[in-house]
Amino acid sequence: MLRRHGVYMRREVVVLEDIVKIYRSGSVETPALRGISLKIYEGEFIAIMGPSGSGKTTLLNIMGLLDKPTSGRVYIDGIEVSKLNSGEIARIRNYKIGFVFQSFNLINRLTVLENIEIPLIPRGIPRPKRIQMATNALIRAAGDPSWLPKKPNQLSGGQQQRVAIARAIVGEPPILLADEPTGNLDMASSRIVVKTFQELNKTGSTIVVITHNPEVANCTEKIYVLRDGRLIGEVSPDPSKCILNM
């Protein structure tokens, strides 16, 4: 709601300053990000587009504190993270960030319920409370708690991605980062995923979606374009070309 009124200062949830990332393997250096500055405000729903190899995943990993930049600063909720140790960084990931991956990354040995519970384990939440929270999360992400006792590989790709979204939101993190969440899904499943993101965004989540698919990007509020490790522009989405309106 706040963002509709320009007079209010909007809270910066993610701030990147001059981010450079160079991968080194032996003597070979691959510059993946060549100086990126970006501010993401609370409640935003943005897309990052760009050709393959342009550095999208690298950028998302750095925002999500899964990787460290070669230089530059990352602020999450105002905290500069380069000074934190790996335990503190893990805590921030756990409480503030939810991840959704292209390949779902569910653990097939565990049930759907146990997969969704994972982020709650390091918080020391007792099992009965966890089951309750996981059930609620799955209802929000999929509307169907009957999957809870199943194994992920008994579900379709679209269903698995909804379980992954449930896992990402179970701890109610303010930020949701998704790396090509519809990359492995058909049209119908992609719609459901995008719809879920929109609903989560309406209830206050800040969402960053990396996507190749313009029909997904057009459902967001702002599209950043990445090329060769640089942000080359900002595009306004065309809601009429959103997958939900077609």
């Binding site: 990993n61 899964l66 893990a90 805590r91 990931r93 040995r109 982020p119 020391g124």
Partner: protein, 407 residues
Amino acid sequence: MFLLFLIDIFRMAVKVLTERKTRAILTIAGIALGPFALVMISSVIDGYGDYIVSQVQGLGQNTIVVFPSGNNKLTENDLNNIRSIPGVKRAEPFYSIQGQVKVGTETKIVFIYAIPPDLVFESISGLELEKGSIPSETEYLKAIIGHKIAYTDDGSVAYDLGDVLTITYLKSVNGRNEVKRVSVVVNGVVKEFGGAFVLSPDLTIILPLEAGQRLLGLSDWSGIYILAENSNVVQDIVREIQSRYRGVVDVVSFQSIANVINSVVGAVNFISFAASLSSFAVAVAGVASTMITSVIERTREIGVLKALGFRDREVLIMILAESIIMSIIGGVIGITLGMIGSHILASTGVTIRAGPQAEIVIKAPPKITVFGILRATILTLMVGIAGGVFPAYRASKIPPAVALRYE
């Protein structure tokens, strides 16, 4: 809160292990080998050791025997000298030779002692007469015989009270061995004593001291048999005799024999312990390779856990939990089988050959101690920790971004 986390980690580890059953079972079998061998072997050795020591101690905790060494001879003077040592209750000379006796159809090797018989009964508390009586000092033809002389191996009576028994023995006359025969009358039969270390009471014939010279024609004492007032002064008496007769006599006490046996058993036990450590070392390698494989296979999964907020040390504990659970299962199996195995191994017995015809069969229950179990348990747990700590550490340090790209 941390306990709650441990319970969750434990559940997850069990799931991982049950998912890869064959590998877990093989690793657990490898772990179980160490505690199995250690518990089985050391409790059998301890059981035998205790048995032998108790046998030797049963021969008389307060007994000391002095033998002349080399060509030396013991005389009346020496006897009086020894009797004057404080703590000596009684000291008597004795003659001893080996001989043969026909028992039923069998010829048995026997040990003949000419010694005041009451001294023997006084010093060896377990020794009792089954029938008959102790002959007086002057009745030098009358003998007390051991149980295995009075009875054949199948239990029928070979010699009864009043029977004449013929002993065949070798005697050296002017440097030549001559076969001699003497006959004695059975005056008493000793109750079965069992055991057969150092002395074998069941195969012994005891004659009054006078028989040594008069009957067996021996001129020199074989030694002096000493009874100490109590077991605490035995060492002092031994030391005193050794200092008075340096190089002239050998002094033996059953107590010191027991000490020697104890230290031999200790040494054997240590060697077997050291040997079994190698199977623990092999198990460490087995656990480590299983865990490394498991960690590599689950690189991506570990990346997911980290992305979802698991800290390095939580990943470390999770992986370590798997190897520790395997080692606990392996330890329980190994120790249980080791205890069963020790009973089987001990019940087969051990045969010690003391001479061409002297065979001693030891059968003793294994000695399973809390210390032994605890030692095996701790070592097995250490196998789990040592084998798991490096893979767990590696897993904990995998950067999540790298792990998530891992195929």
